[in-house]
Every structure is written in structure tokens, then in C-alpha cells.
């Protein structure tokens, strides 16, 4: 039997959750003896493959690219995990929501800029009207809040998922 296929994706977040994932130290060897890492910002695969068993999603859905990516990830993934506060609540990326996109971009790229003030329109993806939690856009199977979730919590959750158990996320909380 082939090993379960695990992926991680990074939307609008600070990568802190991925740092916390690596922070499980040698236990990461245990996890990836039992699973294959098929896509992640930590490795060099270019495309998100088909038939992924477990995917950890860090970050909120903030741009058109995020939206496109998460829909594709959902289609190709069995168990989708909202990984950390930005994915779960939109957290810090969501702090722009009461302000609105146009005033936000104005403030960042025009008002406070002296040299060639302009709002970027090429190459960078367009911002969505609001930064939203992942489960507002696609179905999420497991929620692991925390900023970031501790390495212990991530290990316990992955251990449970790989063993086919309902993951235990007790002890997780917003913030920390």
C-alpha cells in the first residue's frame, strides 16, 4: 500500500505556521516516514498534484490567486485542514476588512509614498473585497486555530490523521 500523500499550502499568512510545523524537530521524520510530502512551500514541487490525502492550509483567502488556488486544492484533496488563525478566522490579514480595498491601497501606495506613487496593477494578484477564512470559500474538514498552533498540536493532529483517527485538537486556541 502506498503512503498517504500530504501537502501544505501558503495563502495570506506570515509562514509562521509552517515554521511551527518544522519546529516539531525530529518528529517530522516520524511523520514523513509514514507519509509522502507531495507539495509544499518547503519543497520544490511546482504544481499541486491530484489525489492528495491531507493538506494543511496556512493563511486567509485574500487575493484572486488565493481563491483560485484554494478551490483547486479543495478539488484535489481528501482532508483539508485550516491550519492556524489566518486560515481559521482571517486573523491579521482580516484587519483590513473594515477599511476597504480602495482606501487601503491608497494609504499604502499613494498617501505615504513620495517616489512615483502608484497602485500596483500588473503581475501581483488583485485583492478580494475582504480577506476571509478558508471555510467561507470551500469546505474545511479540520480546524486547528493558533497563532501559530504549537508544534505539539500539529504533531498530534498529523499523527491522528495518518492513523485514520478523528484528530484531537484539544488545547488549541485563538492567539497564543
Amino acid at each position: 500500500m502506498s503512503k498517504p500523500r500530504v501537502a501544505t499550502v501558503w495563502l495570506d499568512g506570515c509562514s509562521g505556521c509552517h515554521m511551527s510545523l518544522i519546529d516539531m524537530d525530529e518528529r517530522i521524520l516520524d511523520i514523513f516516514e509514514r507519509a509522502d510530502l507531495v507539495y509544499s512551500p518547503l519543497v520544490d514541487f511546482k504544481d499541486y498534484p491530484e489525489d492528495v490525502d491531507v493538506c494543511l492550509v496556512e493563511g486567509a483567502v485574500s487575493s484572486e490567486e488565493d481563491l483560485h488556488k484554494i478551490k483547486m486544492v479543495r478539488e484535489r484533496t481528501k482532508t483539508l485542514v485550516s491550519f492556524g488563525d489566518c486560515a481559521v478566522t482571517s486573523n491579521v490579514p482580516g484587519m483590513r476588512n473594515p477599511i476597504g480595498v480602495a482606501p487601503l491601497l491608497d494609504r499604502a501606495y499613494r498617501e505615504n509614498v513620495t517616489l512615483n506613487p502608484q497602485i500596483p496593477s500588473e503581475i501581483v494578484p488583485k485583492l478580494l473585497p475582504a480577506s476571509t477564512p478558508v471555510h467561507r470559500v470551500v469546505k474545511v474538514d479540520v480546524f486547528l486555530p493558533g497563532c501559530p498552533p504549537s508544534a505539539d498540536l500539529i504533531y498530534t493532529m498529523l499523527d491522528d490523521l495518518l492513523a485514520g483517527r478523528v484528530p484531537d485538537v484539544a488545547g488549541s486556541r485563538f492567539g497564543r
Binding site: D85, V92, G94, P133, R173, F174, G175
Partner: protein, 238 residues
């Protein structure tokens, strides 16, 4: 001598004096009922709705902090249904304004954050309102970030009942409800505020905080003063 009532909470036989609330007797018996507006030392108000309990024979839920005990009453303080209600109530507090635990001065010193963890609330099914909400940092020592206010009104009660200043009150209605200083003037211009800081100490979240505190550094270490102040106030007949 006051009459002693015996009754049951979650099947456990308990006793209390006439005039006590279900919440008080539960606390004395080590039965934890979640609450965010209840605080020993100030009068209860039943604002947060987290302590709702079932009372046998009554068709509606009752706030444990506002319900006086009676002889033979049968209280259910914990059930699957109550847990579901409490999760929803907590969720509504989170989505009503803009709570961002990760960058909050009260991170890890917050009763709302603790309550979410205790109730196993891992995400919000309700959409966030994301309202545009003000911050008043006009006071020399303290600030209020209305984004984090859950309207428990501990600040209003402690300012009135313990400090006797009644600087804090409430204005507007519904989603627009805000705590206010004096008649809605900036806190720094208040003529009644004594700058005692009691409101900051009793605030369950990071809404009221001391200026100059970094993220997660807003612990409320001086809170135990409250029951003492209440005793003094009662002795002096205030």
C-alpha cells in the same frame, strides 16, 4: 439568621442561604459555570448570557448569576444543549466586533479567549461583521479599543459601585451599543474620571488597557483588590 435552602446542581446536592444566586452556590461547590460579565465584588447584571442554566419545571433558560436559589430547585448547569448555546454566544461575541487575539495586548490574559478554548470553539460558522470601530486613546494612562469590547459592563459597574465616579455608562442600542465616558466625550476630557484604573483591571478582554503595554503584556494582576473594596464599601454604608 437566614434560611438555608437545599437543592441540586447537575445532580449534586448543594445548600445555600436565602438570597444567594445559583452562580454563587455553584462557585462555593466547585461547579464551574462559564461567565464573562460576572465578577466577585460587583453586582451581577446578566449581560453575557454564558451562564444560562436549565431549571426543571421552567420552560426557559435562566442566567445563573441573576437567579436566586429556592428550596428543592433542580438546576442543570452542563448539558450538550447548553454547551452548544454557550459556544454560539461566545461566537457571536467574536464576530460582532474585530477580535484579533494574535496582536492583542490581552493575548493569553483574556477571558474571552479562555472561554473559547474551554468550550472547544475552534472556528466561527457565523460571518464576521467587521464593523469600523473607534479607539479612544485620549486618556493619559489608559486607552479603550471598542473593537475588543464585549459589553460585559464590568467597567460601568466597578466605576459606579466601587470607585463611585460613574464615569462609564452605555450609549446607543443594538449593534451600535458602546460604553462611553461621561456624556460621550473623549476619555481624556472626562471631569469625573479619577484615573484609578479599576475599569482596566476588571475588563475581561483587551478592550481597556494600560498604555505602553506590548502585545500579550496586558495582564490584570491587580484584580483581587475588588472583594476587599466591596467589604470596605459595605462597612461604610456606601
Amino acid at each position: 439568621m437566614s434560611t438555608v435552602f437545599t437543592f441540586r446542581i447537575d445532580g449534586k446536592d448543594v445548600a445555600g442561604s436565602e438570597g444567594q444566586t445559583v452562580m454563587e452556590v455553584a462557585e462555593e461547590n466547585g461547579i464551574d459555570i462559564p461567565a464573562l460579565c460576572h465578577l466577585e465584588g460587583i453586582h451581577d447584571r446578566g449581560a453575557c448570557r454564558l451562564c444560562m442554566v436549565e431549571i426543571a419545571g421552567s420552560p426557559k433558560l435562566a442566567a445563573a448569576c441573576m437567579t436566586k436559589i429556592t428550596e428543592g430547585m433542580d438546576v442543570t448547569a452542563h448539558s450538550e444543549l447548553l454547551l452548544e448555546y454557550r459556544r454560539t454566544v461566545t461566537e457571536m461575541m467574536f464576530v460582532e466586533r474585530n477580535h484579533v487575539c494574535a496582536v492583542c495586548v490581552a493575548n493569553n490574559h483574556c477571558e474571552l479567549q479562555d472561554t473559547a478554548e474551554e468550550l472547544g470553539l475552534t472556528h466561527f460558522d457565523l460571518p464576521r461583521i467587521s464593523p469600523k470601530v473607534d479607539i479612544d486613546a485620549s486618556h493619559r494612562l489608559f486607552a479603550i479599543d471598542h473593537n475588543r469590547c464585549i459589553l460585559c459592563l464590568r467597567c460601568v459597574r466597578v466605576c459606579d459601585e466601587i470607585e463611585g465616579a460613574h464615569t462609564w455608562d452605555i450609549m446607543h442600542r443594538g449593534l451600535e451599543t458602546r460604553v462611553q465616558t461621561d456624556m460621550g466625550i473623549p476619555w481624556g476630557e472626562s471631569t469625573t474620571c479619577t484615573s484609578c484604573g479599576k475599569c482596566v483591571q476588571v475588563c475581561p478582554t483587551g478592550a481597556l488597557f494600560e498604555k505602553g503595554r506590548a502585545v500579550a503584556r496586558g495582564s490584570k494582576t491587580r484584580r483581587p483588590f475588588l472583594p476587599w473594596m466591596k467589604v470596605v464599601a459595605e462597612e461604610r454604608g456606601l
